[in-house]
């Protein structure tokens, strides 16, 4: 599976949580950090933590983990081709970040692609905004997306109302785009909240501790 979307839509948190969930279920999991556009807050920052759960973390070699240059580690082709591995791709944001999927697409026949949306982010706060950027990203990726993910949140200030408001907007976008909503992301501190779509409960691993 691959998580795509705009800058700061929550792709990395969801990819990490998904990889951890699959690993805890006993799957052989690899997480590929394909974000070559953001300088910080990438899943590679939590590599050691993920590896403790037996997850193979695919990142550029050595010191190049600190770079923001378009390097695709060759292992990515391996984890996408190996049927025994559940591959989770954490893709960089916006048109420049998603361009990598075009390059990988012949290896992605069995990869489900999730378009992650936070309606409390600039540019995807309306149905029209979501539709516009969905099309832009899909054109750049040269692959079709399979699902939308409703990830409306305000970090530590997220409330049940914020999540529900996001679901409403994403639902409307889903109708226009004719693509289903896979799930709604819910932070663990609101795990009992009432959602329209299936819940995916996450911990926020990237949150700053100060």
């Amino acid at each position: 599976m691959a998580f795509v979307g705009m800058f700061g839509s929550g792709k990395t948190e969801i990819a990490m949580n998904m990889a951890l969930k699959l690993a805890k279920e006993g799957e052989n999991v690899a997480l590929a950090d394909l974000d070559y556009v953001s300088p910080y807050f990438r899943s590679r920052d939590k590599r050691g933590f993920l590896e403790e759960f037996g997850i193979k973390v695919v990142v550029p070699p050595g010191k190049y983990v600190w770079a923001d240059t378009p390097m695709i580690p060759p292992e990515v082709f391996g984890i996408l081709s190996n049927k025994d591995i559940k591959a989770v791709l954490d893709v960089g944001g916006e048109e420049d970040g998603i361009a990598v999927l075009g390059y990988l697409r012949t290896f992605m026949k069995n990869t489900t692609i999730y378009f992650v949306i936070n309606t409390r982010r600039p540019f995807t706060n309306t149905v029209e905004g979501i539709v516009t950027f969905y099309e832009k990203l899909r054109n750049r990726a040269r692959v079709d997306f399979d699902f939308l993910v409703s990830n409306t949140n305000l970090g530590p200030d997220t409330t049940e109302e914020v999540i529900k408001e996001g679901e409403e907007i994403v639902k409307k976008a889903s109708k226009i785009l004719e693509i289903p909503v896979a799930f709604t992301v819910v932070p663990s501190f609101l795990k009992d909240c009432d959602c329209e779509f299936d819940k995916f409960i996450i911990e926020r691993y990237m949150e700053l501790q100060w």
Partner: protein, 353 residues
């Protein structure tokens, strides 16, 4: 105030500038602030305003000079090497008395350095990286809500004193995400009038010019004295700082920006150990809040400075403390972020000495 949204620091500053009435933005991409340029590329046309990507930072600053000369609110953003390239133009703008807002999202240096967060541009930004006797008001936010407030304030200060103003944001502040609220956009017709100096067309009035040049040294000295008078006013009126648990503090830690935020955690950890620590966080780096820090220094033995640099703000801290307390320093360089625990360890070492 509108509803809360989740933003990156770069977006917070960009949107705040739009709300403050920034009508022209020039920029050239550089990590870790390119998202600010990208944000403005999308948002400025939506507002019917001007976004222009220049061919370099040198042309950016000269475009700033031109746009400011006609009286509009103008901003650019860059990161350390880009800010270096702008220095000549900033010095020209200072003497031409041109209001403008510069955002320096500081990264590891010197030279090409790296793309991780740093505060190593303090000397350059605060003491003046260009030539001649000029100063720039500089603000260092430590949260995104504060970045919004200070960006809007920066435009007001720029217009009030007719000077370029800098937002000093390290890379972490530019890249981190927080929920913020934005104030309603300012009504452009309510902005301060610049009709008494801006180049608005000379029909019906005497022609005027905006320049940093005067071949007559006595006349140039007069221009310099106007600047100096302005800086004395800025120093009297524009100091800003935050204190955290300083009331009963026995040791003071001085830190700005992201490090100020980290040190808050250090102060709490120290207090759990029974050490009465407090944070003094300069918000305006120029004018530096010397007097208040000087007062606080009288009651303590240690005033420790922590920076993501080799000790640059430390010189201003020493000027404030003037030997009344010990002034140790702890810093990380090149883009490494100190943790609350390692700062506490450095503080403990000083206390035991």
């Amino acid at each position: 105030m509108g509803e809360k949204i989740m933003v990156k620091g770069t977006e917070a500053i960009g949107e705040a500038a739009i709300r403050a009435g920034c009508t022209v933005y020039f920029g050239y991409p550089i990590t870790p602030q390119s998202e600010l340029t990208e944000y403005m590329a999308r948002r400025m046309p939506q507002e019917g305003r001007v976004f222009l990507q220049a061919e370099s930072e040198v042309s950016t600053v000269n475009m700033m000079y031109g746009a400011s000369s006609v009286g509009v609110r103008v901003m650019t953003s860059t990161s350390s090497p880009g800010f270096s390239l702008m220095q000549e133009g900033i010095s020209y703008m200072a003497n031409a008395r041109l209001p403008a807002v510069f955002v320096d999202v500081v990264r590891g240096g010197p030279g090409l350095g790296d793309i991780q967060p740093s505060q190593g541009d303090y000397f350059q930004v605060v003491k003046g990286g260009g030539h001649g006797d000029y100063r720039l008001p500089v603000y260092s936010p430590s949260s995104l809500q504060e970045a919004v407030k200070l960006t809007i304030h920066a435009f007001d200060v720029a217009d009030k004193y007719r000077t370029p103003v800098v937002i000093f944001a390290d890379g972490m502040l530019g890249q981190m995400m927080e929920p913020v609220e934005f104030p309603d956009p300012v009504d452009l017709s309510t902005l301060p009038s610049k009709d008494d100096w801006a180049l608005t067309g000379a029909r019906g009035r005497k022609a005027r010019y905006v320049t940093s040049f005067n071949i007559d040294p006595y006349e140039l000295e007069k221009m310099n004295l106007v600047l100096q008078e302005t800086y004395r006013k800025v120093e009297a009126e524009e100091k800003k700082w935050e204190e955290f648990m300083t009331e009963d503090a026995e040791v003071i830690i001085v830190a700005h920006g992201t490090v100020g935020r980290i040190v808050k955690s250090t102060v709490k950890m120290a207090r759990e150990k029974g050490i009465k620590a407090g944070l003094f966080r300069p918000v305006s780096l120029y004018p530096f809040p010397y007097e208040r820090l000087s007062e606080l220094a009288e009651k303590v033995d240690i005033v420790m400075t922590v920076e993501m640099s080799a000790g640059q703000m430390l010189e201003d801290v020493k000027l404030a403390v003037l030997g009344k307390a010990r002034t140790p320093f702890y810093g990380r360089l090149a883009g490494v972020i100190p943790t609350p625990a390692e700062i506490l360890e450095a503080l403990m070492k000083e206390i035991r000495r």
